[in-house]
């Protein structure tokens, strides 16, 4: 077993003295088989198609210009070609494709009434079956608040363009965009439960009682809203109960939370914001505060200004409509590549987190993708999709897998859910596991 680094050890000492349960430091916790983690990173506005797909197939492939920043991780990757999400082929250019990315369903066209994604996202399928093992069932992270307004041109509420995680048909999951808040949540979760938790539970008890009484007096439509409230309060109650109960407190942080990693509340710019959110995801995985996370680089149709990248002179969505203009396409690819660099940053971060004889990346599977390929045409075919990490050895990485044209993306999700330990027979329009993914 690799020992923890001296730096981590030093940082952890104070906490370890204060908190006797951090026997993990002595190696006790780490001896247990490391858990598998799963994340999905979403890029808005598609990719430049001719610079994405690697040359070659199987183990013998060369990374494309856009994927070049992943060179150091080539053996940890599975790149899928020709996958698509059939259910999102119609509708508008963006909203249907983003909100259906992890659900593989068609969202209901609406400005708000009947908000419905008609499915559950694959991360939440996993979370609903394994979330009780960690303080947080899942993390939903992003950098921008939900986009304001409704899009009257195409007839969709922009709520659809701001959510990829859906815990129920009408339940998009709100995202955390403040890195400091994520850290505070990790801090609270990794601290031992004190009397405060008992007091909080008593409050929640009363509140649940109020809600139940109230529910009986409401009409059917309003009852659905009250059920939502009951369900979110219960999920908090459940978490607090688990942390407070001596018999159920079987969860421990795998390593103490690195207090020096407390981020700024206000990142200075977009690039730093992305990195801090990815740092928080890495910390959450390292401490085992959650095993499932989604991250949205930005909301769909984002017109984030990318002039901070050398050679880029404009904003993301505008440039994605490159009209086959060579100069616009050049800038588009630079933006795509920047996203891959951030992905590589996360991978290296996870890889540097030792875990017994392996590392957190080895025990993870980190998906990165977009809801369509060429942003200029909102092309739903052959989605850009990469998976990194070996899920503890369950994934057959180091491959470029080329499937038949228009193969279901959902097949990849079936394989991932299997590797995660929450296998499903079918997911949305899946026809079976994706060939070649599982080891």
């Amino acid at each position: 077993m690799k020992p923890l680094s001296r730096r981590t050890l030093l940082r952890g000492t104070g906490a370890a003295l204060a908190l006797p349960w951090f026997e993990a430091m002595a190696g006790k916790g780490l001896a247990a088989k490391p858990p598998i983690r799963m994340a999905a990173l979403y890029m808005p506005n598609g990719v430049r198609p001719d610079m994405w797909t690697p040359a070659g197939e199987g183990r013998d492939f060369l990374l494309s210009p856009t994927l070049q920043p992943l060179q150091a991780f080539k053996n940890e990757l599975i790149i899928g070609t020709n996958l698509w999400n059939q259910a999102a082929k119609g509708g508008d250019g963006h909203y249907v494709k983003m909100s259906g990315f992890l659900t593989c369903t068609t969202v209901t066209k609406t400005l708000g009434v009947d908000l419905n994604c008609n499915g559950i996202s694959m991360d939440q399928v996993a979370a609903q079956r394994s979330g009780q093992n960690t303080p947080f069932a899942s993390f939903e992270l992003a950098t921008s608040p939900v986009t304001t307004g409704v899009d009257r041109n195409v007839g969709y509420t922009r709520v659809y363009g701001s959510h990829i995680a859906w815990s129920g048909h009408s339940n998009p999951l709100a995202r955390e965009i403040n890195p400091r808040s994520v850290f505070e949540r990790l801090l609270r979760a990794t601290r031992p439960a004190g009397n405060v938790v008992k007091q909080d539970l008593q409050l929640l008890d009363l509140v649940l009682d109020d809600a139940k009484q109230l529910r009986s007096k409401l009409g059917t439509a309003d009852q659905v809203r009250m059920d939502e409230y009951l369900s979110v309060v219960r999920s908090l109650e459940d978490r607090l109960q688990r942390s407070a109960s001596p018999t159920q407190a079987n969860w421990k942080p795998r390593v103490p939370l690195d207090l020096a990693a407390r981020p700024e509340a206000q990142p200075k710019d977009f690039a730093e914001h992305v990195r801090l959110m990815l740092d928080m995801m890495a910390l959450a995985f390292q401490t085992d505060s959650t095993r499932i996370a989604t991250f949205m680089f930005n909301n769909e149709v984002s017109n984030q200004n990318f002039t901070f990248v050398d050679g880029v002179k404009g904003a993301h969505h505008s440039i994605s409509h490159h009209m086959d203009d060579a100069e616009q396409m050049r800038q588009y690819q630079l933006i795509n590549r920047w996203h891959i660099e951030q992905y590589a940053y996360l991978l290296s971060k996870l890889q540097a987190m030792c875990e017994g004889e392996s590392n957190v990346l080895h025990n993870s599977m980190i998906l990165l993708g977009a809801g369509f390929r060429d942003g200029n045409k909102h092309d739903p075919h052959n989605l850009p999709v990469v998976l990194a990490g070996r899920a503890g050895g369950r994934l057959n990485t180091g491959q470029h897998l080329i499937y038949g044209p228009d193969s279901p993306l959902s097949n990849l999700y079936v394989s991932m859910l299997d590797a995660f330990g929450t296998p499903v027979e079918r997911f949305a329009d899946s026809t079976g596991p994706a060939r070649g993914v599982l080891a």
């Binding site: 939900v146 709100a174 403040n178 009682d209 007096k217 009250m226 904003a315 409509h321």
Partner: protein
């Protein structure tokens, strides 16, 4: 009746609707193959609708049909295309018929749907309840928008597990502050140290309705529990109030109390974005608030209170998309460093809301929204506009524009001009689209699939942007919409991407003339405002729809649109006075939730 007919479906820039026969013939030649008989796709069997009455009977279905045709979803790709004009004539026929039918038999308002307080409402309510100057909802997730485009729409105020966690955290932060602040203590711990008396005074305010003893007892039990574990009085009462702040009676807008209390909340969340005050609750308790005269007077009282800034900011920020500035749309710091001056930025962002509030508070004519001899600006913003500012300070205030100024009215405000630009340059297309959508309420349909956005990028060709746009409009696929969009945007080309005046761009003099599809020719922003003033009925109809959607916190139905007609008619009769818009709004059937007037 004739008057109402004139209001039916916005007509400017849109073709006259089909007759029943014309609509039938469009359906027969384009839809029949998939949509007739048994197994008709999408559950839409056109053979079931032999006459207009059968169409009216299935209004929900037909609204969907109209929208899908209008937006170009139907006929689907691969089928012969239907021209945009025909699509609009067809959807115009459906909406006109349904509208007339819905209004013919009086308005029955749908129930007021249950919804939680949104983040802003939560913050304002906690602030007023505990009298604390703290943004308690700061860490809550932002809310998305639904319905008419506002984040108070019941349909999109969903809850995620993170909300429960944040509500608990926020309640603690708020009470922690409140207990330490003498001003706050004096406001809500009035009966100290009598916990029962304190909670008896607090709960009806927190829940915005009368409460009974049994309810109070539940929170007394929390206080007692804290006392029993040895907590101080302060900690115990604070603990009990944390329970109050987590209760669904606090967090949700419930309308199961008496009519007058429901009305009090509806009024205060509309015009203050927060809880009703003592006067509103008192009037509700005396059952006086449902008296239309009292209701109108209260609406004007609320409007004239400074708390209406909250309403102006939330409403205008979303109606005009100004909230997107700095969030989804960020001016390029290299091209527009001035935007990053805090005082200019806040001056820009606040101007439209403060101006709107001024028009409403002072009962100015609503036509001022389109063109006014004044605005509400700070010293720095005035200098940014290059107008004399010697009487102005840092705090924005009403300011008369110099005679003959091209400024005045929402359209030429920096925030509007910036939010309808790209980060580094202007776009007549975005500005034209902004006018069609935000002011006229007729957003252009999306481009057909596989037709990319119009190329505006300055490429290698030495043409002007106008020339490139004109070239594209030679393409009939693009021309249908861009003939409407672009000519409106050209009139604002004298303003740069931050809204500052310019005479030239890249060394070329600016041509700010536009030729509208109806043949109207105009030149520059001053004449563009006249063009819009000539369409003021349409503008105010759109404003009224937006405002009613905001006031009700939901998407509007066909019957709500009848109420919109009535409100607009009353506003016109009254010479467009701003107060009339608000009083008619709160007296409308959907707002009062009373059937048939």
């Amino acid at each position: 009746m004739l008057k109402f007919l004139l209001f039916l479906a916005p007509v400017a820039f849109a073709a006259d609707p089909f007759t029943f026969g014309e609509a039938q013939s469009l359906l027969r030649s384009n839809c029949q193959k998939c949509h007739s008989g048994k197994g008709a796709l999408g559950g839409f069997d056109m053979t079931q609708f032999p006459d207009e009455q059968s169409v009216i009977a299935r209004s929900k279905l037909w609204n969907r049909v109209a929208n899908r045709v209008r937006e170009g979803d139907m006929p689907p790709p691969g089928s012969p295309a239907v021209s945009m004009v025909d699509r609009e004539k067809f959807s115009g026929w459906v909406t006109t018929k349904l509208h007339a039918a819905a209004c013919a038999d009086g308005i029955t308002p749908p129930p007021f749907p249950l919804r939680r307080l949104n983040r802003n409402e939560y913050t304002a309510t906690v602030r007023d309840l505990l009298n604390i100057p703290v943004n308690a909802g700061r860490n809550l997730p932002a809310d998305g928008a639904g319905g008419e485009g506002f984040d108070n729409a019941a349909e999109t105020l969903f809850l995620s597990p993170i909300h429960a966690e944040k509500y608990l955290e926020a309640a603690k932060i708020a009470l922690d502050y409140a207990m330490r602040d003498p001003k706050s203590r004096a406001a809500f711990l009035t009966k100290e140290p009598d916990a029962r008396a304190t909670l008896t005074a607090l709960l009806p305010r927190a829940f915005r309705r009368p409460v009974d003893q049994a309810e109070i007892d539940r929170y007394i039990a929390l206080f007692d529990a804290a006392q029993q574990r040895g907590d101080s009085y302060d900690d115990s009462i604070s603990y009990a109030i944390q329970g109050v702040l987590l209760s669904p009676h606090f967090l949700f807008r419930l309308e199961n109390s008496t009519h007058d209390f429901a009305l009090a909340s509806r009024l205060s969340y509309f015009l203050w974005g927060g809880m009703p005050d003592a006067e509103l609750l008192k009037l509700a308790g005396e059952n006086k608030l449902s008296d239309p005269a009292v209701l109108s007077a209260q609406a004007i009282r609320l409007l004239k209170d400074q708390k209406s800034t909250e309403f102006a900011e939330n409403f205008v920020g979303q109606w005009l998309s100004i909230r997107e500035l700095g969030r989804d749309i960020k001016p390029d710091p290299k091209v527009s460093p001035e935007y990053y001056d805090a005082e200019i930025q806040s001056g820009m962002l606040y101007e439209p809301a403060l101006f709107f509030q001024e028009v409403l508070m002072q009962n100015e004519p609503l036509t001022h929204l389109l063109d006014a001899p004044y605005s509400v600006v700070s010293n720095k913003l005035a200098r940014f506009y290059n107008i004399p500012s010697k009487d102005l300070r840092q705090q924005p205030k009403r300011f008369d524009m110099p005679a003959g100024s091209h400024r005045g009215g929402l359209l030429t405000m920096a925030a509007v001009l910036a939010v309808s630009s790209y980060p580094a340059r202007t776009s007549p297309v975005l500005r034209g689209k902004w006018i069609l959508e935000s002011l006229l309420g007729t957003p252009p349909p999306p481009p057909p699939p596989d037709v990319p956005e119009l190329k505006e990028h300055a490429g290698a060709t030495p043409q002007t942007l106008r020339a490139r746009l004109e070239q594209h409009r030679a393409n009939p696929t693009c021309a249908g919409c861009h003939n409407r969009i672009d000519p409106l945007g050209f009139g604002l080309e004298n303003y740069d991407s931050l809204g500052r005046w310019r005479e030239t761009e890249a060394g070329q003099p600016i041509d700010a003339s536009g030729l509208l599809p109806d043949g109207t020719a105009y030149k520059g922003p001053v004449e563009l405002k006249q063009v819009l003033l000539a369409k003021k009925t349409q503008v105010f109809q759109n404003l009224t729809r937006k405002l009613l959607g905001y006031a009700l916190g939901r998407g509007l139905t066909a019957e709500d649109d009848c109420a919109v007609d009535q409100i607009v008619a009353a506003v016109e009769r009254d010479g467009y006075r701003a107060h009339t818009l608000i009083t008619e709004m709160v007296r409308s059937i959907p707002f009062r939730q009373e059937s048939k007037r």
